[in-house]
Symmetry: C2
Subunit: 69 residues, 2 copies
Amino acid sequence: MVRAEYTVTGMTCAHCIAAVRDEVLGLDGVTDVDLDLTAGSLIVVSAAPIPADAVLAAVDEAGYTAVAH
Amino acid sequence: MVRAEYTVTGMTCAHCIAAVRDEVLGLDGVTDVDLDLTAGSLIVVSAAPIPADAVLAAVDEAGYTAVAH
């Protein structure tokens, strides 16, 4: 299992969290997503590594910006 | 046409605006809703007056708090 950590900026409420969660969970191979609004942290769980570009694009699609750790 | 003004607290992003809009537009007789995130203002447009209690309940249902002006 792979856990990749990102920081997401711009999320202000539970709806933002839900929007990011939906997009990232929609990526092929992602099995779980852990988001923390206060910390702006996003942990992406998958069996095999997910390309960071795909995660960043999914967050962008939700309307926010992420950086990989 | 009646325009009733309210102040809504707790809205932090466009998703919040959409949630309040959906609930208030769902009230019988409401024809338009004008929301401003920065000002926290909510204007409810209708042909006949809408009871303030109904508007406050709709905002509460969306997860926010409103007061009538």
